[in-house]
């Protein structure tokens, strides 16, 4: 089974520029997540999709961050304009509901963003 694919792995931009990250989840996984992980911290949920609908985007800074999941498969996370504090690893994860009702996440390798 192929894992969660993310690109690019690394991106360096200047503040106020824009950047986009792409994620391809595991085939058949209905739920897709974007997490932000700042160095030395745990992942923080930005947005959760169920198929192509948004389940939770309460922690997404909507003035600069946007995300979409077209056709309920691939997803794109965009930042425009970027700020210095957006420097982080952006992790995409996907899951399918287990019999128990729990969601076990499979993560991609992440996209490391450096904003100068």
């Amino acid at each position: 089974e192929a894992g969660v694919a993310q690109s690019p792995r690394y991106k360096i931009i200047e503040k106020r520029q824009s950047v986009a990250f792409w994620c391809n989840p595991i085939s058949g996984h209905a739920t897709l997540y974007w997490y932000q992980q700042i160095l030395g911290q745990g992942p923080k949920l930005l947005i959760q999709f169920q198929n192509n609908g948004v389940v939770d985007d309460s922690q997404l800074p909507k003035d600069r961050f946007s995300a979409e999941r077209l056709k309920g498969v691939d997803s794109t996370l965009k930042i425009q304009p970027a700020k210095l504090e957006d420097s982080a690893v952006y992790l995409c994860a996907s899951s399918t509901r287990q019999v128990s009702g729990a969601n076990v996440l499979t993560f991609g390798a992440g996209s490391r963003l450096t904003v100068l």
Binding site: V4, Q41, G42, K44, L45, Q48, F107
Partner: protein
């Protein structure tokens, strides 16, 4: 906001020793999960324990859950250098009828010295 908080923040042990990490959380949960993250990589799921379970084993891993104290512990027995990684607990809140998104703690950095 961080739901879970791991303790200690960093742990250094010798190969062959046991490593214990603790996680405390604030609200009622449906389940609690532990993930491992090697440097520069994504997180990998290790083990899940449901709110009605008290202990679970998987290979060299042992997880306990005390819902009255809102805490969990992860024990890695006979540690190896390859166990060097960051370990995160993640909680799924108790929401009527379903388990919702996971909230991760701040992690414990484990270093196993050869």
């Amino acid at each position: 906001s961080q739901q879970g908080e791991e303790d200690p923040q960093a742990l250094s042990i010798q190969e062959g020793e046991n490593a214990t990490m603790n996680c405390s959380y604030k609200t009622s949960i449906n389940n609690l999960q532990w993930y491992r993250q090697n440097s520069g990589r994504g997180l990998v799921h290790l083990i899940l324990i449901r709110s009605n379970e008290r202990e679970k084993h998987s290979g060299r891993l042992r997880v306990t859950l005390d819902t009255s104290k809102k805490s969990s512990s992860l024990l890695i027995t006979a540690s190896r250098a390859a166990d060097t990684a960051s370990y995160f607990c993640a909680t799924a809140p108790q929401v009527r009828g379903s388990a919702r998104q996971l909230t991760f703690g701040s992690g414990t950095q484990l270093t196993v010295l050869p």
